[in-house]
């Protein structure tokens, strides 16, 4: 039925109707720094897909990194594929135009490997839409030997199970090295039976081929057992990491249209040592790896030269914790003072040091907003989530922010943390009022507080993975408290709709049976789930009903500590015992320190000892291995720094008074030379 399109016929057909769609530049490529290689002269063809529109896909650093890595290899070409927005999709479907790559306009089907970046779960239905638009069978088991291998990676698939049927394989962890192995394997096995191709993929460390595992269930619906069925299938599948951050991307493709993050980016540090218990990224991106200062500075120079971007963002999960952040900011301000380059440093801790950093970076221009992310409004609840920034410190920093002329403070909170009470929610209102009062004192009516509230979605591989999502009525009640409390001028409140939160929750916490639900929801019209105006809650609920499953059971059932979780056979480098201990700590109100002060043996050094030995001492946040090294002490299990008095008076007495977690710029408290090697 579908006419066969070639790159040139696709290009010709596009010319016929692009004038009818919004922002046609999304669909034609041709930007500065795009890499176009000779298709026939380059043996290995990889499509890199971001399953949402160009505006988001082009803002994704992960995709830019893989594009760079792959295209450096003369035997490989990598091209970009994004999803069309609904208007373009309708045109493409009406004309039977298959999903194609921006560089050469080859249909997705023509590639050896299709690497799909899935940073969050709301992209799942888009993945199905992508396969359908490409004319590739949705289910891996139905694909022919000529179809490309479809492999997912990214933080949205650390629980691959709900999407197990649709991907040939999942890659767990950091793909900078493995993507080359995947590309070669896909190319070398082209034309072989699919089962053999899966085996080739499964031999690559970090790769999970779901069809090589059998899952059985208990009577109550929980997972009984997951077992490999082929010798190639690793059990568990351990994530891959790179020992050092690979060279930064400096030849970013420069978009023509104004995309979400229209700027260059340098990853200054990967991983985080703070140990916030709700934080998926903080668990799965361990260990901390610092990019050398010189490399960051050089990258900024090169990006400006290669792209002309007017803004560069220095990315990490906790920028104030970058080893050389002070020096970095000082040197960048010196170099770029007169060059009109905007530098941004997101994810700063709520400390006065951060205000100094921002002040230096902004250099007197563009005073916009300052962001605080306390995530909970009482000292007690922040003990529970292990983000122990005292309220008083927050107020002091707010004072500093408004005094120096920023007019807006954005505050991010989560509701639905374990042990949360009504008082903890009311405290959000109270804290926002106290912050605004400080602002009013300095700036009068110009001072603003923007409050962003999301509901905790307990994520796999975090200490909160056993916690349930808060009930819908409860969430509404809490949102109403916030709406009532933050009505006055000066405040702006935004919050996530509980229905969207529910979808995110069952998709992140689901098992293999959800694949049917996802497929059915997509058939019923669910796609672009992360876009408020496209979100189709009705489609999801109907799909659950038709498949005969209960969304509440997946999202709102507290899980037993002994339960086999659907994602237990995926190992992100953090041991389940560590997560369990941290979950119990949360319930006790026990706070642990930054693990650069005290290594708690989360598992990273157990699994990646050999990599630790390869790299310089200062390259990782984890203790260096070997005799006579200066390093933080190591505890075989997490030891609390202190325990919340209200919550566990007995324990609190044992561990002593409340202390601050390590502050950003302070030297380590316990740099003890250790003479005998301790086994973490």
């Amino acid at each position: 039925m579908r006419e066969t399109y070639t790159p040139s016929s696709i290009a010709r057909e596009l010319e016929r109707f692009l004038h009818k769609v919004q922002r046609p530049a999304r669909y034609v490529g041709g930007e500065w720094n795009q890499v176009v290689k000779d298709w026939d002269a380059t043996p290995i063809h990889v499509a890199l897909v971001f399953p949402d529109i160009y505006d988001l896909g082009m803002s994704n650093l992960g995709l830019a990194i893989l594009y760079d890595v792959l295209n450096r290899d003369p035997h490989i070409l990598a091209e970009r594929v994004f999803l069309p927005w609904v208007d373009m999709e309708a045109e493409m479907r009406a004309r039977g135009i298959p999903l194609y790559s921006l560089e050469s306009k080859h249909p997705l089907r023509d590639f050896d490997l299709v690497g799909v970046s899935v940073p969050y779960e709301q992209l799942y239905t888009n993945v199905l839409n992508m396969l359908d638009l490409a004319g590739i069978p949705l289910r891996a088991a139905d694909r022919g030997d000529d179809d490309p291998l479809i492999v997912a990676g990214g933080s949205g698939v650390t629980n691959p199970e709900p999407m197990w049927a649709f991907f040939d394989a999942f890659f767990i962890g950091e793909g900078e090295e493995a993507i080359l192995e995947l590309a070669r394997a896909a190319h070398e096995t082209r034309g072989q039976p699919r089962y053999e191709r899966w085996k080739a993929l499964a031999r690559i460390p970090g790769v999970y081929v779901p069809h090589f595992y059998r899952v059985s269930y208990n009577e109550d619906g929980t997972v009984r057992d997951v077992s490999p069925t082929e010798p190639e299938a690793a059990m568990p599948v351990l994530k891959r990491i790179v020992p050092l951050l690979p060279p930064p991307v400096t030849r970013f493709i420069v978009p023509y249209i104004d995309i979400v993050h229209n700027r260059g980016a340098v990853e200054i540090m990967r991983g985080c040592t703070r140990g916030c218990r709700y934080c998926h990224a903080g668990m799965i991106y361990r260990p901390v790896r610092n990019r050398p200062l010189e490399e960051v500075l050089q990258a900024v120079d090169d990006i400006v030269r290669h792209t002309g971007f007017e803004e560069i963002s220095l990315l990490s999960l906790s920028s104030s914790d970058y080893e050389w952040v002070g020096e970095l900011v000082q040197e960048l301000t010196r170099r770029y003072k007169d060059k009109r380059l905007a530098l941004s440093l997101p994810s700063l801790r709520i400390e006065s040091f951060s205000v100094d950093l921002m002040e230096a970076l902004e250099g007197g221009r563009r005073r916009s907003g300052f962001t605080f992310a306390p995530e909970a409004a009482t000292d007690r609840l922040r003990d529970v989530i292990n983000k122990p920034i005292p309220t008083q410190q927050m107020l002091d920093v707010a004072e500093e922010v408004y005094r120096r002329g920023w007019t807006t403070i954005k505050m991010y909170f989560m509701i639905g943390h374990p042990t949360q009470t009504r008082e903890d929610v009311e405290a959000i209102v109270d804290l926002a009022h106290r912050v605004l009062a400080i602002g009013r004192k300095h700036l009068g009516r110009k001072a603003k507080v923007r409050v962003g509230v999301s509901t905790l979605v307990p994520k796999p591989h975090t200490p909160f993975q056993w916690v349930e999502l808060a009930g819908e009525a409860e969430i509404w009640e809490q949102i109403h408290i916030l709406q009532r409390g933050l009505k006055k001028p000066g405040f702006h409140l935004s919050w996530n709709h509980p229905h969207e939160t529910l979808v995110e929750a069952f998709l992140s916490r689901g098992d293999r049976r959800l694949a049917d639900v996802i497929e059915r929801a997509w058939q019923l019209g669910a796609k672009f789930d992360a876009w408020g105006d496209q979100f189709r809650y009705d489609a999801w609920m109907r799909a659950f009903a038709e498949v005969g499953l209960d969304p509440e059971w997946y999202a709102r059932r507290p899980r037993d500590l002994n339960e086999t979780l659907p994602w237990d056979h995926i190992n992100v480098g953090v041991k389940k015992a560590f997560l369990q201990q941290e979950y119990l700590h949360a319930l006790q109100g026990a706070v642990i320190d930054d693990c650069r002060e005290y290594c708690y043996s989360c598992g990273i050094l157990t699994y990646f000892k050999h990599l630790r030995r390869q790299v310089p001492d200062e390259a990782w946040g984890c203790p260096p291995l070997g005799r006579g090294k200066k390093r933080q002490p190591v505890a075989p299990r997490p030891v609390p720094m202190y325990v919340n008095e209200e919550m566990s008076p007995d324990l609190a007495a044992k561990y002593g008074p409340r202390r601050l977690q390590r502050e950003s710029r302070t030297p380590r408290r316990n740099p003890t030379p250790v003479t005998t090697e301790q086994k973490p």
Binding site: E15, R16, F17, L18, H19, K20, R23, P24, A25, Y27, V28, G29, G30, E31, W32, Q34, V254, Y256, I257, D258, V304, R305, H306, T307, G308, F309, E310, R340, R365, R366, R367
Partner: protein, 240 residues
């Protein structure tokens, strides 16, 4: 020592799909990559000083577009042209660059008319397309709506169309040239002509061949290589 340079450039394929703001952003970044010391405005959010003669809508290509840039130190126009071309992806090209007096009037105030080449795919045209064109040309009033900020405004398109000439009616693409008024508040758009003809869905290629400026010969002096901009006129259209 500020200097003002005028650039004549081409917006071709695939960049014809860019909107005007995209084109402006592209040149800003290309200038930065080429390390040309563009003058920036003052204030919290400094903007490079660049001025375009006339915005070219999404989907339109342009064979001879004009912009002025202000640079902080004297540059050789030809070197600027080459440096910029080294930073241009497919579709953009600087054809000529020359200096203009700092006091010369702003480019947009000089534009009077524009000439377009319009092609529509014949297979998609209705059978009576010739009659439609004739009716259009005979009409004295053709009312259309356009967006002005938040509201829609009715305007008469017909007097803005100065000339419509069929150039090729036999090929795969029916080709005609169109001369339209192009002044602030009175700009004829070729896509509006197609829409007025009822050809919204017809595949089209629209290229602006040239902008017709108010006679500015005395002010537009080429001090660089003695070549006057109108020397281009045979191949690139008369731009003064």
């Amino acid at each position: 020592m500020t200097q003002r340079l005028r650039l004549l450039y081409e917006k071709g394929h695939p960049v014809r799909w860019l909107g005007h703001l995209d084109v402006a952003r592209f040149w800003e970044r290309a200038l930065r990559r080429a390390d040309i010391p563009v003058v920036y405005s003052q204030g919290y959010n400094p903007q490079p000083k660049i001025q375009f003669a006339s915005a070219l809508p999404v989907g339109f290509s342009g064979r001879a577009e004009l912009m002025d840039i202000w640079v902080a130190s004297p540059q050789q126009p030809e070197q600027v042209r080459q440096a910029l071309n080294a930073q241009c992806p497919r579709g953009f090209r600087v054809i000529r660059a020359w200096e203009v007096p700092l006091k010369a009037p702003a480019l947009p105030t000089l534009v009077r008319e524009a000439e377009y080449l319009v092609q529509v795919e014949r297979a998609f045209l209705p059978a009576d397309w010739r009659e439609q064109v004739q009716r259009f040309l005979k009409a004295e009033e053709i009312w259309r709506e356009k967006r002005r900020k938040k509201s829609w405004v009715r305007y008469n398109l017909r007097p803005l169309i100065l000339d419509l000439r069929l150039e090729d009616t036999e090929g795969e693409w029916v080709t005609f040239t169109l001369r339209v008024k192009s002044e602030p508040g009175a700009t004829g758009r070729p896509d509006e002509v197609l829409n007025a003809l009822g050809w919204e869905d017809v595949p089209r290629r629209i290229e602006r061949l040239r902008l017709i400026l108010k006679e500015e010969r005395s002010q537009v002096q080429d001090q660089d290589d003695g070549q006057r901009p109108e020397d281009q006129s045979e191949e690139k259209g008369d731009i003064t």
